[in-house]
């Protein structure tokens, strides 16, 4: 894990992952992005920052999250499955690892207000939570359609004192919420910090967010060693919308080629149906939200409106690091349909008593497809809990009765 040559999978000095990454932002955002770029490593590597960050992860978020041996699921699938329980984080998903880190950065940059985008609402809730904790004003942009299908999270954000603004442009989902949050940042350049919720956006966001989420794989190494006697799994599975839980789960294993990294994308109704969010299956290199990455788009370079049953995966791009993992073949990308995800969600609920988020269910749905043998150690990043998806699950209850 201590490679002497620079890793081809981590960000380089110019902010790129191979051909992907960079900071493709209009001049209005340049000073903000530059300020962050010039300060994020100095701030986050400072011992007092690390102390505050670790303390909050422990006492507030509830880390370390357990690594749970899923015995019945393992028997059912025919392999050895461990679940990294990010669903047990405060607020119900891994998203808060990042928002804790970024709110501490925002404080040290002297910012007074936080703006963020959210898809499923998990990042919005995690952002509203840390803003309440630190006493900062909080504005969350959320697609108007997502506000409807993830209403409990809208209510939670409001309960926490955040202002939730509907994004009404375009497809009215995560992509458009991100556009609106960026516009808000453009209009409030000096006193506002933009807490991006995933490993997307201009450099240094993808790297900064991945670093905050890397606690997931750091804990995994210790826990696997303790429980199995080996630090390295054979397979590591995570879902990818923008890809922050995958980035954190993969982080310390990127340069361990024996670990097969599996990224689950949302195929929606099917990759070829025109109602899909399977970025690597349908996309090609392009530029969105400040980064060069892989992107679903028309021949003319217009960004395609994605579709997934899961609001958190309903995004037409992926983080630039994931684009590089895909392009180099380091990670395998699988397309999982709405139906496969629902099957996996009901399966986990009934075999292990854990209701996963719809996003996470896409990663679980890969389990029967990866060819893992009985003694192979398979870790799934259980990125979030399914309470927010109950309305969707309830609609399908009869099919699984």
């Amino acid at each position: 894990m201590t490679a002497t040559a620079p890793s081809p999978y981590h960000v380089d000095a110019a902010g790129y992952y191979g051909p992907f990454g960079g900071a493709y932002v209009p001049e209005m955002l340049y000073p903000n992005v530059e300020e962050l770029r010039d300060n994020y490593l100095r701030i986050t590597e400072d011992p007092t920052f690390q102390h505050d960050f670790q303390q909050l992860l422990t006492d507030y978020v509830g880390r370390p999250t357990p690594l749970f041996f899923a015995q019945r699921l393992s028997e059912h699938i025919g392999t050895t499955i461990y679940l990294k329980r990010e669903d047990l984080c405060h607020t119900g998903a891994h998203k808060i690892n990042n928002t804790i880190g970024q709110i501490l950065v925002a404080q040290r940059l002297g910012k007074k207000r936080i703006v963020a985008e959210t898809g499923a609402g998990q990042h919005g809730v995690a952002t509203a939570t840390v803003c309440a904790l630190m006493g900062l004003e909080c504005i969350i942009y959320m697609g108007a359609i997502d506000m409807e299908r993830q209403k409990p999270n809208v209510d939670r954000m409001r309960m926490l004192g955040a202002k939730v603004m509907p994004a009404k442009s375009g497809s009215q989902t995560l992509k458009d919420a991100t556009n609106e949050a960026m516009r808000h940042w453009i209009s409030h350049p000096t006193d506002t910090h933009y807490i991006i919720g995933s490993v997307v956006g201009p450099h240094p966001y993808p790297d900064m967010v991945a670093r905050f989420q890397s606690v997931i794989s750091a804990e995994m190494i210790r826990q696997l060693l303790h429980q199995t006697g080996r630090a390295i799994p054979d397979f590591l599975l995570a879902c990818v919308g923008g890809g922050s839980n995958a980035a954190g789960a993969f982080y310390h294993y990127l340069d361990e080629p024996s670990v097969r990294l599996i990224a689950a994308e949302a195929a929606g109704q099917g990759v070829d149906t025109g109602h899909s969010a399977a970025t690597t299956a349908l996309g090609k290199p392009g530029i969105l939200h400040g980064a060069s990455t892989i992107l679903m788009q028309t021949e003319d370079g217009q960004v395609t409106e994605p579709y997934s049953i899961s609001a958190g995966l309903d995004y037409p791009g992926i983080g630039p690091q994931h684009a590089q993992l895909f392009a180099t073949g380091r990670a395998e990308f699988m397309s999982i349909t709405d139906k496969q995800a629902l099957d996996a969600a009901f399966q986990l609920s009934r075999l292990e008593g854990i209701i996963p988020a719809l996003e996470t269910a896409h990663a679980l749905a890969c389990l029967p497809l990866i060819g893992a043998k009985k003694d192979d150690v398979v870790v799934v990043c259980l990125s979030g809990r399914g309470d927010k998806d109950l309305a969707t699950y309830t609609k399908h209850l009869e099919e699984y009765s």
Partner: protein, 260 residues
């Protein structure tokens, strides 16, 4: 010589640049609107290439982009529409403005070739990083005779303004206040101070002010310390409201009213 260069050699004050979105309100309105602007006395025209995710634009221009895309506008279609305009009496300098992705997908060299072939004089790509410009785009723009315009905002440091000025060869686009296009910029003392501060830098390029310029008063205030100003959202709103049959007259009156 490049028409933009010639314009700024001949005119150093009160230059009016009008922005509109290609393929809006109707797909084939691009050239008629361009002609009406020339006939009305606009000094240069900035044609927006519509994009699905225009993050630097406010609601008015976003909606015009969306409508143009629904009309079927593409980069290739725009070049088709502009084909032959220079032979048909369009002499006004033309800039193309757009976000990077559609240009990259079209192919950057092919894009530059087409610009030269139809007689485009300059390019504004707000999300093109300066380092990428220097490395990949500058030689191509120079080869095909295209001038480049960079944006500067009130938050841009003096050192960076100088860096942008050294690389630009069209003009410097001064964003009047923090915000997206179409925001109601109050031409207050802060804006005035920013514009006069920029003037004191004695840049080698002409300067045009944009964002929130909508009428004679804001144009005059913006032009006090600069070479001129840019009107975008206000003109798009005019195009939305004007009946097609009266469009040329309405454009004439609007442009005449900016510099009474």
């Amino acid at each position: 010589m490049n028409r933009l260069t010639t314009l700024f050699q001949q005119k150093t004050a009160n230059v009016l640049n009008v922005y509109f979105t290609a393929g809006f309100p109707g797909l084939n309105d691009t050239v008629p609107i361009l002609r009406a602007l020339q006939d009305s006395g606009a000094d240069l025209v900035e044609i927006g290439m519509p994009y699905s995710d225009p993050v630097a634009d406010g609601e008015t221009i976003q909606r015009s982009n969306q409508q143009a895309l629904e009309n079927g506008m593409t980069v290739a279609k725009l070049f088709e529409q502009l084909h032959g305009i220079r032979e048909q009496g369009i002499t006004v300098p033309i800039l193309l403005m757009g976000y990077l992705n559609p240009v990259v997908q079209f192919g950057i060299e092919k894009f530059c070739q087409q610009c030269q072939a139809v007689g485009v004089d300059g390019i504004i790509l707000p999300d093109l990083p300066l380092t990428v410009y220097e490395r990949e785009y500058q030689p191509l723009f120079a080869q095909y005779g295209l001038k480049v315009v960079f944006l500067v905002t009130p938050q841009t440091s003096a050192a960076r303004v100088r860096q942008l000025d050294a690389l630009a060869d069209g003009f410097i686009y001064l964003v009047a206040a923090a915000g997206t296009t179409g925001a109601q910029t109050d031409m207050n003392a802060d804006v005035d101070a920013y514009l006069s501060r920029t003037k004191a830098l004695d840049l080698r390029n002409p300067t045009l002010v944009g964002f929130g310029i909508s009428d004679a008063a804001s144009f005059a205030a913006a032009s006090r310390h600069t070479t001129g100003a840019i009107i975008g959202s206000a003109f798009i709103r005019l195009l939305q409201q004007a009946p097609a049959a009266q469009r040329a007259t309405v454009i004439q009156e609007f442009v005449a009213g900016i510099r009474p």
